[in-house]
Every structure is written in structure tokens, then in C-alpha cells.
Symmetry: D3
Subunit: 237 residues, 6 copies
């Protein structure tokens, strides 16, 4: 992701991203059951680093495994690059935590951009106090080994019902989290900025009493009006 | 809905409405998965104006349809009468938005009483800033065309698992949203006011240490006591 | 529950309790769909007193039954001992209330420690104003008779997908609610206090930049370091 | 249940029973997820004897408990009276067996009328070979202790989403299983026989080409025609 | 649907239809929870005539409404044209019947091609004996009024999670039911016939031991081989 | 898996396997939503070879990908060893096929032991005609690319809610499918054979009228009786 694209994506909403992807025929990129936990909401943006769980098996899902040197969840915590978003396939189990305050503290120290999961967060109050953006299903007391077995890192995963491949761009705000296929990131970002510029204009018109039809989406007359408005220069928001 | 009924319903809770309907044998009128989004909660009250979606079909659910003059969701935004509640059958899909800030802005301008849906709201922070009562499943980034196809307006719909017919009375508060069959509205409202008057008395007694049995519901002795209390005149709350 | 155990459990988190139980092979003790409703969160702790519902049957689930002297939900309100937690099997139906403000008021007067249920709470704003800890699915307008039939009190129940036997210890905080089998309470409490002491040390190390492996869980070197830290005396938090 | 009622219920379908109960305002009596397993279907009819499970807890749900003298599921097998239907609350978990071939063999020896559950049946082929009517969710390999803890016998339970009280009448055929409140059994049975008599007449008319309206339900003209047909005497089916 | 298209669709499988639609970017057209009930399976094919339900409301969902002249479900039975498929939105409630044997008898008399619904069928054994193709969730005892309220006929509906508009082509076989958008029917049918011709060739090759890659889908060499095979003339199956 | 173990597992039921694993503290090994499709049922047994899907993404889930040389589902078909069981993580989507008749034909040619998946089978009648054991959710028309994106082969997967690691032993019969952790296979097989020997004895006793308690599980007296029976030599079944 180049600097221009990063800047553009930082300026637009997840709602806008999903519309730009829909215009390209891509619908299944908005996570279900994943919400911002920080208050106030902290945006999240970065390439995905992935971690995956499978269902528990009692011989494999014990507190002992947490100390093994090749335990994938620990590798993920230590290896997710600075600036990346750690995306954890929590199998839609919001009742099982995938991170707690100690791990979040470590991710913060390491410069990771944040965590996204359809699982839960334990010691959630303390984890949020760390100050890292956390998007998840909500608080949950049990550790991951109570209900998951660890699978692997940096493979294709699901999270919130959508596919994430390592390196896909993750973006989150108050409306939720979307994933942008790598190849489309730059154009989605650029067109998204333009979409939002028009929507600021459209909102002014609607506040003035204009009906939705003709304005959103615009007909030819409104497009001309918008062109005039753009020439006049958009006022600072 | 006459002015007296409107005033009565404005004074009572949704919990009371559901009890009055239960006393009339009607149970299936409280929406599931629909909650007040405004903070603080804004009550909602008015006759239903309905909009309905069916599942997406890729040839029918594209950004292009949004500009068509007869697109039912746009008709709904422009035609829902002032004072009505726009009730949208979002097929229980809280992950798909049924309105966003631009449409909510327009509804506000047009004097609609608010929106109720088992779907989501996009650009939710901005939509809430408009100041209109919004009851829905929560925030959601994707637009309706990402997962719905539009069906029609002003037909019988489901919302939150209950049936709504155009003109049914919609009432919502912090506990959620209920629908009142038109024919029962006046009597439910009137009896609800009386029910709550008694409950204020009962609460005083309970706070004084009286057991629930005999008080809630009242036995003959408590009924007599209540009659005395009423004669004395209820103190201003 | 002796005073020492009560004190220990009061000092530790639900997350810690679930880990101590997992170490004893017990996983299925964390409720799903039950969250703290009070703001700020009020902890809950005490032995379970249980109440159970079954699905509604129209001939048995009417407002009339509320006044019957042997109606189990009313017995529960009057008989749950001071200090106990009233745990209500709401059949996972967050859309049906199991208590409202009048009942909560009575429980407060009677000295009950609080309510835990996978059902809802009606007149929820008023119920929370009473000041008793309430852990439930959320607000819900309809009374229990709208969708439940009463079964019995003080039998084994489910709540939030876990089994609760009368007298089991219930503990809740911001992460949710867990149940501790009676026989294990003292040791879980004691070991939990020690677990959290170590985690305070581990957090300091992580904040200093130490990797998770070797620290959480500790290797031999870190254990020695921790022993030193303990000798020096843990600073007041 | 007197002999006349038993005979009447033996002659009518579950579909008819549900319609008779609906006419009395009772809807929530038809089990979901419970189907006849025998091929060909064997009808089931008798008063309910109930057994109840709650979710597993690892300290209580072990193979050891099966040998305890007061283990409720074993008591149920030995105590359900001849002619009764053993109804087992399997918590809607069709993936966990509530009986296997050995227990079914014992129930057969003891003269129990059959088993109804929303749980599964293990060693299902062998269990069906015993020849007792079994209505359940389907085959399932794991024993009940793999996922349930035993609660009690002869209390109110749920099964397939409906309430069953000990002694309620259970009836099952190819369409599924319904429960009849004890007090209504005789009249439901009697009116059901009459309903089906009319439906045989109606079917003849429809086969002759008559439209549904006017025939089902009948208008005055059809009622008269039916009275004639009755006088002529219904032919043996 | 012209005769050629009808013939083509009669010759191909639902699996083939879904692949042809996928090639045109249309995925959401295969019903979930709808299966053939007749044994042996009877294919179904024809334009959709639609009927829709909403959730029950106790004041509207009574046995009385069945006799009303404008009751939509009765209108549907009498008005669905010969050759059409009656598609009933049963709201995914397989536990509530949408037809029974009397109505199926009438549909048979009227020449309707069959019934498709995500609801259930009551008196299912007798209904199947009528000999009309029935695709539904399975048997279910309660009548529709036990849990539905009638909405309308010939509007857009959902069935099995997909959208159906009146006149869309419905096709069903042992694999399930799909809906073909009207505008695409002819080309889907024609290309489907060609697809299956190739698949017969591919199957022969695979039976001879050829690996899947290169054959399914074909590479250039296999395409040439297929062209030869076609010239030789496909043997009668 | 040595020959002795293979023979032992061939002789015992899946129900027995789950009980042996439960005795070793392992519960989560029985698949949900996976059933034998062949009629009559064909047993399945062999080491797992795994294939995994993630949710569809429209840019990755197109008919084109089927022809790519490194497409994981095609690699799986060509590389699963003779005697292995191809286990496919179909994400619990019984409405999406993971194999059809052409692929099953190829697996048969290659000597694979069969297919297990929580997904569906397309062209199901033809696929079953191939004669390979198929355990899946049921028939389903759409191909995998209609709703899945391919992930990888030979990694840890979930299927039917349980974890499967490559090389785990898969066993299926009429009751369903279980997975046996590799390390436990020999002892589970051996003890299972002994368990079933006792159960044959127990069944005889129960058929003679003995109560379940004391026989199943056996008390000391019954154990002695069983020892005698064993000495006498078990009659041929």
C-alpha cells in the first residue's frame, strides 16, 4: 500500500469502501459480528497478518500448549509486522477470547496496527486500556484454548464470514470492518475519496430540501450543478 | 390515531403496551433484534409506512438500480407521510444497511417520525447526528443493494419477526419496539395508562417492604388500599 | 463459601476463574449471551438460587397465573436467600423479560446479591436504577408469560448454555459470568489470586519490551526472576 | 385417558390434533426437529413420562455416572410406566444420543409405548430393529454423557421447542409429534374424529372438481350436502 | 418459455442450471432447505406463481380466516395457472405446513405443475399420494394459520433464501430447486444442454483413467478430442 | 494404522469409538451435519487427507479458477493417496456442493476410500452410482465456486464442527462420522472390540428381562457372570 493510497483510505469510511467494491462486483467483504470495542472508536487500517483456529480437541487444547515455542498464536504475536493488522479467525465464537491484555500490550510494543477478530477479548477493560484499536465480537472470559485448537499463521482464513488472504487490506471504523483485495486497493481508495466529495455536496442539497431522486445518485442537471460547486472550491469542513 | 390515544401512548412504556396486548391474547408483536440507536434514547410513535426487501439477485441488486425512478426504497423515502414511522423489512440482516445519513436527512426534512428496521444503518454516526429516532439492528457498512433486492412499499411485511401491516401503530422506547394492531390502539393506550398508575403505587409498597404476592398483581386488600391512594391523589412524579 | 474464599473471589477476574477451571479440565462454565447491564459494571458474586422456564403453552402462560400463590417465579423472588444470586433459565430468549423493575426492587429489599439470566429485563432503565447487579441478555419489553411457562425453582438449570446446580458459585464482571462447581470454589479462588499476582509481574515485563514466549507462561529463568520480585514485595497497585 | 379417547386419538392424524388445539387457541404444541425414525412409520400415543438434561459439565458428565443407582436417565428407563411415552429433553441437540439399542430393548421389555426426543439415537439401526416407536432428531453416535449432564425425571420439560408436563398426552405419526394438554384430550379426540369425517367428504368433492372455497371450510350449501352424505352412510374406506 | 427452452430445461439438471447462471455472475438462485418429497423424485419445471406469508398475529391467524373469499392462500390455489409452479414463501419455517392433501388435490385437478416451498406439508403421506411434484422442507403437522399470517399473491417473495419474482422459471430435481431469471432462460437452457454433452464425454475419459486437470475443464488437446468425439456422433445413452 | 487396528476398527461401530474416546476425556470428535448418503450405508475408514475452503470472494470464486493447475481442490482429487479419506471443510454449508459425479468417479479410479464433508454433493444420484462411500450434508446443486473460495490442502481443518489434522483416522457408519486422534487409534480399536463383546452379552441379559442397573454398566456380579459367558465361548452371531 503506497502512501497516497494509505492517505486516501484514511480519509474515507468503510461504508464508502464497500460501495466502491460493490461497483466492482465484490460484495462479500464486510465482516459480520465484528465491531469496534474502543470508546471512542479508533479507526484501523493496514495489511492483514492472519492467524487461524479450528475447533477444540481435548488432547490438543490445554493450558500446556501455550508455552510451546512453535505455538501458532504466540508466533503470530511475535511475528506480525509493525503496521500490520492481526486478523484472527475466531470461528465466529464471540464467547471465546482470542487475545487478552497481556498479548495486546505486546502487540502495542511491537507496533502492530491493531487486532480484528470474530472472537472475543478477555480482560477486556484492561486490554482496551492499552490503547490499541481492537475490533472483535465483544468481551469474553475464557481463553482460546478453552474452545479452540490452534491451526496456523499466514494462510487464507475466514473472519466474520469473509475471506482474508495475507496482505489484503483491512479497514475499520464505527460501521465495522471490510477487507479490500490487494489488487484493487489503490483504485478503491481514489474513487472513494471522489465518492465522498460528491456525497458532501449531495448532503447540502438534501438539507436544503431537495428530494433524493436526481441527487443521489445524481441526474445530469445535478452533475452540472456539482461541477459548478467543485469549481467554486469545497469549503473546509 | 386520535390525539387522546397519541397522548396516552406517549405516556406509557412499550413494556406496558405488550402486557395490554397479551391481556387481549396477542403475543407476537414485539420485535427481536431491533434496538434504539440514539443516545440518549428517543421514543418513537406513529403509524407504519412499510418497505420490503427480498434476497439479492445479482442481476437486480446493483448500484444502477438506485437511480431508477420507480425504485421502491426511493419511493418510500419520498412518500412516507409526515408523522409516520418508516418500517423496513431488512430480513433480519443486521449486516446490511437499509438507510444511511443522506436518506435519514431527507426523512427528517420531510417530517417522518423515524425509522424502524431489523436491518442496519450505514454511516451510522452521521445518521444519528441528524437527530431522527432510529431503531435498527446496529451499524452496518454495506448498502442494501449489496445483499437485498427491493420488493415493494405499503404491503404487509415482517420486521424483527413480527407482522406489520401499513397503518399499524409503532411504538418504541429503551426496551425495544412493539406494533399495535390498529383496531386495538385506543383501548390499549387507555388501559396502559391505568396499568402504569397502579404500578407506581405498587412500587411504593414494594419499596416499603411489601412482598410481591398480594401487590403485583393486587389482591382484594391491596386493591382497596390502592383505591384509597387514588382518592388521596397521586403526587406529581 | 467461607470468608477467605469470598475475599479471594472478590479480588480476581472471571477470566482468571475460567483459566483455573480449565486447568482442572472444566471448560463449559462460561455463559454465552449474558452481559453486565449496569453502567458502570457492578461485579456479582454468590451462590446460585435457580428458577426455570419452559416454552409457553397458551393455556398456561397468561397474565392470570402471575397471581397464583405457588407460581414458581414469585416464589423465587420471595425465597431466594440474602446474598444469593438469582439465576434464571430464560431459554436463551433475550427477547422475553424474566424480571422488571418491580421485581428487582423487591430483590434489592430482600438482600439478594443480584440477577443472572440469559433472558431479558423489562422497564430496563428503571430496573437498573434500583442499583442491583443485573446480568442478562439486554432490555426486552414482553413479560415472561408472553413466551414462557414457569417450571420450578431450585432444580438444575441451564443459563447461557452452561449447567447451574443450586449452590454453585456465580461470579460476574465486565467479561461476563462464570459458574464454579461448589467443590472447587476454594482452590480456584486461592490459585486465582496467585495467578493474577504473576500476571501483574508479567505485564510489567511485557511493558518493558520482553517477548511473550518465556514470560507468559514463564520459563525457568522468568520464574526465578519472579521469585526475586516477590521477595522484594509487590508494590501497591 | 379413557378407552374411548384412546380409540379416537388412534384414529386421527397429528395434523388434525394440531387444528383442534388451534381452534382452542393453543398453537405451541407441535415439536420441531423430531421425526419418526421407524420405517415404515409406527404411530405413537400415550401419556408423557419425562426426563431432562442440562448442558454438560466435565466434572459431572463422565462414563462413571452411568453406574450410579440414582442416575436420573437410568431411573427413567426403569420407572416409566407401561403404556407411557418416554419424552426426553435433549436440548435440541440432535448430535447427542439420548438412547441406544440396549436401553430401547429394556423399554420394549417393560412395555413402554415408545420414545420421543429432540436428541439423537445411537446404534440407531439396532435400536430400530427392537421394534419400538422412536421419534427423535435422527442417528447420533455420542452417548448423552458426551454432551449432557442429567437433571431430573418427571418435571416439566421442553422437547422440540414445546412444553411437556408429566401426564400430557403425546401423539405422533408421519407428520411429527404433538402434545395435548391433559384437560383437553377427550374433546380434542372427539372433535378430531368428526373433523376427519368431514375432510373425507371434502376430498371426494375436490376430486370431483369442486373449488376449495365453499368446501374447505364448508359454506352453508356444502354443510347441507354433507348432512345428506352422512345420512347415506359413509362407505367403508 | 418457448417449447424449445422447455425441452432443453427438461433434459438438464439443476446442477447444470446453477453453473450456467454462475457463468453469468448469478449465484443466489439455489434454494436452501427445499427438497423433493416424492419418492421416486419427480422433476418440476414451470413459471412461478407466488404466495407470501408474514409472521402470525393472533388476531389475524385463526381458523376463521380460511373461509374468507379474499384469503390470499385460497386465491393462490384457485388462480395459479395450469403449468405454473406455486411457490410459497414459508419464511423458512419447515415446522409449519403451507399445503395439505386437500389443497394438493385441488392443484392437481387444476393442472398446476407442482408446489415449491421452504415450509412444510401436512398430511404429507396423503399429499404425496396425489402424485403432484412437491418440493418443501418436509412433513409438518400444523396448518399455516398456526404460525403465519397471509400477506399476498403474485408479488416478489423469498423462498429458501432466494428471490422469486412472478414468472421466473422454477426447476427442481433430486439436487434441489433453482430459479432462473426470465430473461436468461433460453440461453441458460441451450448452453446447459451443451455443457452436459461435454460432461458425458468427460465422464467417459475419467472412467478410462484420465486425470481431472485437462479434462474438466478441458484444455486445448481435450477440446480437440471432444470435437472428434462429437463428429463420431454421441452414442444413445 | 496397522492391519490389526484396521481390522478392529472395521469390526466396531462409531458409537463405540466415541465412547472409547470419551473414556479418554475426548468429546469433540463426532461430526455434526454429516451423514451417510449411500443406500445401503457403506462404512468408511482411513486416514484423513484434508481440503479446505474459505468464504467466497467474487474476484476469486469464478468458473475460471477450476482450470488452474495449482487449484487446491483439483490437487486434492489427484493427490489424496489410495486408501485415504478425503475430508473437505465445507464450512457447514450443506447448500454448496464440494464434489460431483465426475470428481467422485476420479477418486474411485484412484483408490481413495471415500469422501467426508459438511458440504453437499451435486449430481448426487450419479455420484452415488459410482459406488464410493460418501458422507456429507446431502444433495446440493451449486458447485463450490458458487459460494466458496479455495484455501489449501493438507492443513488442519474443521468438518462438522470438529478438528481434523491430516493423518487422523476417520471412521463412519450409519450413526455418522468420528475422527480418532492418530496416537490413540490402536488402543481405541482394541478396547472398542472388547466393549462390543460385553455389550452383546448385556443385550442378551436385557432381552431376558434384566434391569439396566447392574448390567449396563456391569456390577461385580454381572462381571463374574460375563466372565463365565466368555469362558463358554461367544456363539457366532
Amino acid at each position: 500500500m503506497d502512501a497516497e493510497t494509505y492517505k486516501n483510505l484514511s480519509a474515507i469510511s468503510v461504508a464508502t469502501v464497500t460501495m466502491q467494491l460493490l461497483k466492482r462486483g465484490i460484495r462479500n467483504i464486510s465482516m459480520v459480528g465484528v465491531r469496534p470495542l474502543n470508546d471512542p472508536v479508533q479507526r484501523i487500517l493496514g495489511p492483514a497478518y492472519t492467524l487461524r483456529y479450528v475447533p477444540l480437541r481435548e488432547d490438543l487444547s490445554t493450558p500446556d500448549v501455550l508455552g510451546k515455542p512453535d505455538y501458532p498464536p504466540r508466533l503470530a504475536i511475535e511475528q506480525a509486522p509493525g503496521g500490520s493488522v492481526l486478523v484472527i479467525d475466531g470461528r465466529g465464537r464471540g464467547d471465546l477470547a482470542v487475545v487478552g491484555d497481556l498479548l495486546v500490550e505486546r502487540l502495542k510494543v511491537r507496533g502492530v496496527a491493531g487486532v480484528v477478530s470474530d472472537g472475543g477479548v478477555r480482560d477486556c477493560v484492561e486490554a482496551l486500556a492499552v490503547g490499541l484499536p481492537l475490533y472483535a465480537a465483544g468481551p469474553a472470559a475464557p481463553a482460546s484454548v478453552a474452545g479452540h485448537a490452534a491451526a496456523d499463521i499466514e494462510t487464507a482464513i475466514q473472519c466474520g464470514g469473509v475471506a482474508i488472504f495475507p496482505g489484503d487490506i483491512i479497514i475499520g471504523d464505527a460501521d465495522g470492518v471490510a477487507v479490500i483485495p490487494q489488487a484493487l486497493t489503490a483504485e478503491v481508495a481514489q474513487d472513494g475519496v471522489e465518492q465522498e466529495r460528491y456525497e458532501r455536496f449531495a448532503k447540502l442539497k438534501i438539507q436544503e430540501g431537495r428530494p433524493i431522486p436526481g441527487v443521489y445518485p445524481p441526474n445530469e442537471a445535478t452533475k452540472a450543478e456539482y461541477a459548478e460547486w467543485l469549481k467554486a472550491g469545497e469549503p473546509e469542513s
